[in-house]
């Protein structure tokens, strides 16, 4: 079935945004300390859903918060009693504006693992309740390489609503899912797009695709990497890394977490918070043994997980080519460079 697609211009788009914000619990990129992050907004003026600037954090925190309350507990002479947390933001329906392809794709990728052996209900609920509206990506950033990966950016169904540029200032608001369709229909922008729309869109997409600095042959890289587990190249690429964990924390698809309890007097809360495999002691075992005590092993894990293991298990690549990590890395390491370098370096064995 096909969903509605409307045609408008910049002013119309802003009108659309304003309506969405006024009607729904809306999240959009908001500036804080000179960086953009998805925050609850009440008016268009305070956010920039249309900004080309990559947000620092991906959209992930809205579904997998940096620190989520798992449960509450109380301990006294009557034993330990558990209770649910009051997580209001689980319930309400919400709309997220200004989400890039890569971030949206990230969520799709995460769905795989969250729908896997254990179904994370919190996550599912958040997903169901959220309508994702894309931003207009018309130019690639220095570190973007979403187009070189294993998914079709042009026709991706990661968004519920897509905002895409047409020719001479035209803007199309395109529903991609049912949720999206409802949202679009509910708006006052009801001018149907002309038949030329799809063509214009793909034309525009071509120019967008052309703007990419980073390109890779995904399948080739993926195959080569599989043979590089023992490559000394990991040593090389990890040299600069200061193990600061930033990449993992801001990555749209990293989903490692740790569980921690906070207790005051008799009452406690159990939290589920981000963790990172770049931590020196992420794999430190009770006995004191640490299989990934050195940096290159952690980098190997990171690269392989992003480009090999996850693909093997779930059929999708974990890295979505958003470039978040490269942007935030204090020493400008890009996973793109890393995997390329490793994949294309001669398979010299670590212990050779």
């Amino acid at each position: 079935m096909s969903f509605s697609i409307f045609e408008t211009d910049k002013a119309g788009l802003e009108k659309f945004y304003t309506e969405v914000i006024s009607k729904n619990e809306t999240y959009a990129p908001v500036e804080a300390f000179g960086k953009f992050d998805y925050k609850r907004v009440s008016s268009l003026s305070e956010c920039m859903p249309d900004s080309p600037i990559q947000t620092t954090m991906s959209v992930k925190p809205l579904f997998f918060p940096k620190s989520a309350k798992v449960m509450k507990f109380r301990e006294d002479s009557s034993g330990t009693t558990l209770s649910d947390t009051d997580q209001d933001h689980l319930a309400g329906k919400r709309v997220v504006l200004g989400v890039k392809h890569c971030d949206a794709r990230g969520l799709q990728v995460l769905d795989a693992v969250y729908k896997w052996d254990y179904i994370d209900l919190d996550y599912q609920k958040r997903r169901e309740n959220t309508i994702i509206v894309s931003t207009r990506c018309d130019k690639a950033d220095t570190n973007c390489f979403c187009t070189s990966l294993d998914y079709d950016v042009e026709n991706s169904d990661a968004h519920d609503v897509k905002i895409v540029n047409g020719l001479d200032g035209k803007i199309y608001i395109k529903a991609v899912t049912e949720k999206g369709d409802i949202l679009v229909k509910s708006s006052s922008i009801q001018h149907p797009a002309s038949a030329a729309a799809p063509e214009e869109i793909s034309k525009h997409y071509k120019s967008f695709e052309a703007s990419f600095r980073l390109k890779m042959n995904y399948t080739e890289i993926n195959e080569k990497l599989q043979k590089q587990f023992d490559s000394i190249a990991f040593e090389e690429v990890s040299k600069n890394c200061i193990s600061c964990n930033t990449c993992a924390f801001i990555c749209p698809t990293c989903h490692c977490f740790k569980i921690s309890d906070e207790k005051v007097r008799d009452n406690g809360v159990r939290y589920k918070s981000y963790d990172s495999c770049n931590n020196g002691y992420f794999t430190l075992m009770a006995g004191g043994h640490n299989p990934r005590s050195v940096k290159y092993r952690r980098w190997r894990q990171r690269s392989m997980h992003k480009f090999v293991y996850y693909k093997e298990r779930f059929g999708v690549n974990l890295c979505v080519g958003c470039g978040h990590c490269a942007i935030s890395c204090p020493v400008n390491i890009s996973i793109f460079d890393v995997v390329n370098h490793v994949a294309n370096s001669p398979a010299v064995l670590q212990n050779a």
Binding site: M57, C244, P330, V331
Partner: protein
């Protein structure tokens, strides 16, 4: 400020004489004007080394890692970097004989906007304080300036300040990049990560962010050299320097104008005392 050639020459010489195993410098980033640290182990890569006012990162940080531990390292340090290195030497994290220090008389580095970075404007010691070789002409110690942002924030009311910092802690994601990018955070295991000590808990809530940041700041009080590695590393661009500069100011004004890492064997303000320290705040 451009010492690219000198540094390349020095590196070549050091490798030729077999004095070092690795040289830590800067190289041009491929796709923008920024520079990134560059660990040269193969003399062939020496040509990559550069040094300009874009050479921002404090390289002393690299002495923490396995690549450099107990290896002989050639290192480029600006004024602030050298002060950090000085402390690492004093706190016996680095063996002096293991490092060949190329000191720079720094004229200040540029921030993202391309203007002189604030910590360079307020820099107290642009010249390297410890070195084997000094590049540029020393301009000597400068007068201590109270950080502009602190002054500004101080004018605000307590409530405003609290709101401001609540926002800061709210935006912290507890990735600990600040810590890992700090040369002086070399602890075998940081107290913040010790699940055994019930000091902290892993939750990345703003309150625990506050607790962790406060403790971290206080562990660096009297030691922080204001290189702002932490701030550059912070993905949330949090104004971490505020906390450090605040402590630095209090320490400077109350404890014999103490500044971190200036002299050899100075361990920082908390590891010594004076009978005449301020006592009026105590009942």
């Amino acid at each position: 400020m451009n010492y690219t050639n000198q540094i390349q020459e020095i590196a070549t010489k050091l490798f030729a004489e077999g004095k070092i195993d690795v040289f830590v410098g800067y190289r041009q980033n491929l796709f923008d004007e920024n520079q990134v640290p560059c660990l040269v182990t193969d003399p062939a890569d020496i040509s990559k080394l550069v040094f300009t006012e874009k050479s921002v990162f404090n390289l002393s940080n690299y002495l923490k890692f396995e690549h450099t531990r107990n290896k002989r390292v050639g290192l480029v340090v600006k004024g602030c970097d050298s002060r950090a290195l000085n402390l690492m030497l004093t706190e016996s994290q680095v063996k002096r004989e293991n490092v060949y220090i190329v000191g720079i008389c720094c004229e200040g580095v540029l921030n993202e906007k391309g203007e002189k970075a604030q910590n360079c404007v307020e820099c107290v010691m642009p010249d390297a304080v410890v070195y084997d070789e000094l590049l540029g002409s020393p301009t000597g110690k400068r007068e201590y300036l109270v950080n502009a942002d602190i002054k500004e924030l101080a004018q605000k009311g307590l409530t405003e300040r609290a709101d401001y910092f609540e926002n800061v802690f709210e935006n912290c994601i507890r990735c600990n990049a600040c810590r890992h990018s700090c040369p002086l955070c070399y602890c075998a295991k940081c107290c913040i990560d010790q699940e055994t000590s019930s000091l902290f808990h892993g939750a990345n809530t703003s309150s625990s962010a506050m607790h962790a940041l406060m403790t971290w700041t206080l562990h660096l009080a009297g030691r922080c050299v204001d290189c702002r590695n932490c701030e550059k590393a912070c993905p949330s661009h949090l104004p971490l320097h505020l906390l450090h500069k605040q402590n630095e100011m209090v320490i400077y004004e109350n404890f014999q104008q103490h500044l971190a890492g200036m002299e050899k064997d100075d361990r920082g303000a908390f590891y010594k005392y004076s009978m005449s320290d301020p006592d009026d705040f105590i009942m």
